[in-house]
């Protein structure tokens, strides 16, 4: 994992001091709320329905155990004993006091963490594949270029007051777990026929009220040219992105209104100008320095199979279920990737208590080469666990309600904070997620239904990714009453698609039954081996619509 050098430490410390001054000027009245707003946002501080909310960056979703311990400590000391992991691989605290936030940030800085650029109209925290460095088949560890992008985009003087926020995601695998096509810029690290590493760059994806799948702008940007290319995209956007209407200000709208071809032409023209100086070609020594931090950990040479692991599954049916749903093959023989679901039946998606975070930090230190990952589906991962240790890890997780064996199943839902916390929401998301989770609580039924991603947003801003849920649910407000609209067929993976709305919305009383109807329509009509999304793609909307409304 990347470690700060003196420069990184100093810059974060400077930033905390700067923010401390800004908070003081706000408290003294020298800054108005309007003047303070972009400054606090640039430091991850939102003003929510009930209180300030702080969003802490977890770059590309990778944490060391001491960092996870710090997140637990902060939940205890500054919040109400829990934190909320988000779809952007960050963590949010819902109850910090504004005047204590600089102290909180000082503590975070001790473990090389910060809240820089987790909000505001700037380049946000870079996200990536939670299985980076652990899954077979990556062109290169995507965190190397993610870290380079993190540094390049931090306090970028030209791109700090963009028309709107800007999100970059990176994957290096054919199975996209980072939803790169739904980002302002999505990057696929790949190898060309000559064996060189380069980047496929997608631009203009996004959700919100006008969802778009990103357009491929360049099939292969050579490794040395990436920052020049990114700077070209950013400059075109900063100069031509709309600032007259915040709903039309994201780069997806610029790409859509300009057209893919014209956008590509403008980017290439800008790229040629920027690249001419080679100013943005990162020295190889620096790339090597950063890459070294992401070298594989010291794996032991082990047999591919573990007798203890196999036996434990035979002896313990619950463990066998956990393995089936949550454990994924590792690239290294004798190791496994262990997913920790933060979606217990009836729980709040993405929430973890301080005690749970401490347990996970401890397990990471003892059994996973000191690493934890956060996923955009609001779960956690222990990326490097020996097969021999999986049962021990499972037992410790189970003792803290962290062993729910539902990864990728119907109860593994994404939900935004919704009307319980958010001042933009029209409807509650969390209670609905809880009701659906309870309705489908039977694990055998969940396995029978198979992979099915439900994503719930409490308003059209789509923080709960409803557009790309296999089943998406959108909370809408009609004359003061909460209604829920269903969409089907969305996907956030390499086959990214925007879901289609089924028809009129359902009341709070009817929505869970409607979801049940969608699910039984699928189980009645599916062919052998078909997942929900396959059946939907084969049959289309008609049979679902018929059952829902006739």
């Amino acid at each position: 994992m990347y470690r700060y050098d003196e420069f990184d430490h100093k810059l974060v410390a400077d930033r905390v001091n700067q923010f401390r001054g800004q908070v003081e000027r706000r408290v003294s009245g020298a800054l108005s709320e309007d003047q303070f707003k972009p400054l606090r946002l640039m430091n991850g501080v939102y003003l929510q329905l009930h209180a300030y909310m702080l969003r802490v960056a977890i770059p590309y979703g990778t944490l060391r155990s001491e960092q996870m311990q710090m997140l637990a400590h902060i939940a205890r000391k500054y919040d109400r004993g829990y934190g909320h992991f988000t779809t952007r691989q960050n963590i949010q605290y819902n109850w910090p006091a504004l005047d204590k936030i600089p102290d909180l940030l000082d503590e975070l800085a001790c473990v090389e963490m910060h809240a820089i650029q987790t909000s505001g109209n700037c380049i946000r925290n870079v996200t990536s594949d939670q299985y980076a460095g652990a899954i077979e088949g990556e062109a290169e560890d995507p965190r190397i270029v993610s870290e380079i992008i993190r540094q390049w985009s931090t306090f970028h003087p030209e791109f700090t007051y963009l028309p709107r926020k800007f999100k970059i995601a990176v994957t290096a695998h054919k199975n996209d777990r980072a939803a790169i096509k739904l980002h302002d810029i999505g990057i696929v690290v790949k190898q060309n026929d000559a064996g060189e590493i380069g980047y496929e760059v997608h631009v203009g994806g996004g959700q919100g009220r006008t969802p778009f799948v990103a357009k491929k702008m360049n099939d292969f940007v050579p490794k040395a040219k990436l920052l020049a290319y990114l700077e070209a995209v950013m400059r075109v956007y900063n100069m031509l992105g709309r600032r007259d209407n915040s709903y039309k200000a994201r780069i997806k709208i610029l790409v859509h209104e300009t057209g893919e071809e014209e956008m590509r032409r403008m980017v290439e023209e800008e790229f040629a100008k920027i690249d001419a100086s080679e100013m943005l070609t990162v020295p190889q020594t620096e790339i090597d320095r950063i890459s070294a931090y992401f070298a594989p950990p010291a794996f032991e040479t082990l047999p591919a199979d573990s007798q203890a692991f196999t036996q434990a599954q035979a002896d313990d049916a619950d463990f066998a279920r956990f393995v089936r749903a949550n454990v994924v093959a590792h690239k290294q023989d004798g190791y496994a990737i262990v997913n920790i679901s933060l979606k217990p039946i009836g729980g709040v998606p993405g929430d973890a208590t301080d005690a749970q975070m401490d347990v996970i930090a401890d397990l990471a230190e003892r059994f996973s080469h000191d690493e934890v990952r956060v996923t955009h589906e609001q779960n956690l991962v222990l990326p490097h666990v020996k097969l021999d240790d999986v049962k021990t890890v499972y037992d410790a997780l189970a003792a803290h309600d962290l062993a729910t064996a539902n990864l990728g199943l119907i109860s593994d839902q994404i939900a935004c904070p919704g009307l319980d916390y958010c001042n933009l929401a029209n409807a509650r998301s969390i209670p609905l997620a809880q009701e659906i989770s309870e309705r489908f609580s039977d694990l055998d039924r969940q396995y029978d239904i198979g992979e099915l991603k439900i994503k719930i947003s409490g308003c059209i801003n789509a923080c709960g990714h409803h557009h790309v849920g296999h089943i998406g649910i959108l909370g809408v407000d009609k004359k003061g009453t909460e209604f829920y609209q269903i969409s089907l067929g969305g996907a956030a993976d390499e086959n990214a698609a925007i879901g289609q709305i089924t028809g009129r919305a359902f009341t709070e009383e009817d929505i869970v039954d409607a979801i049940e109807t969608v699910v039984t329509t699928y189980t009645d009509l599916r062919a052998d081996g078909e997942r929900f999304i396959d059946t939907y793609n084969r049959l289309g909307m008609a049979p679902f619509k018929e059952r829902l409304y006739d």
Binding site: D5, F7, D8, K10, L11, D14, R15, N17, Q18, G21, Q22, Q35, P38, L39, N121, I148, Q151, W152, S153, T154, F155, H156, P157, E158, F159, T160, Y161, L162, L227, R235, N238, M239, L240, R242, R243, D244, K273, S277, M279, L280, V282, P283, Q284, T285, E286, R289
Partner: protein, 172 residues
Amino acid sequence: MTDYHLVIDGATAEESWTYLDDDAALSDAPSIISLTRLKDEADALAERSAPFGVILRADGLGKTDLGEDVRELAPFIDRLALIAIHFPAYRNGRGYSAARVLREEFNFTGQLRATGDVLYDQWAMMNRCGINAFELAANIDLATFQTALGELSGAYQPAADQNRGALWARGK
């Protein structure tokens, strides 16, 4: 009298320029004119000995409000002694790109000035993008300005200033 005071290259300076309305007659004093006027009266301006500058406006130009295109200044760059970049609101960061294009693509060496909603917390970023002159609110002193520029000790990335950025500096 102006309602701002000027800092140029880190020092307090007297205002020697006048912003001219489009319908005001040209004088012998150094004048800042609009882009429209610059394009319309380029030949007449060329014959005058007094220096002139231009203001690049970032808003108030129609429905989608994209602002004036910095690259329209290309034919005039050598004749301009000053370019003022208008920041209609501190949140509107379009002018940062304009500044870098002027410094890095056009190699503009004259005065590059920030005017409009130019606040404490944006000065350092503007400075890194090549802006060397600031119209500050009357109650801001030079020491406050210098403090703001020094709040962040370093940078990761190159821009229009001398700082190469840590990603490059470490590699040396």
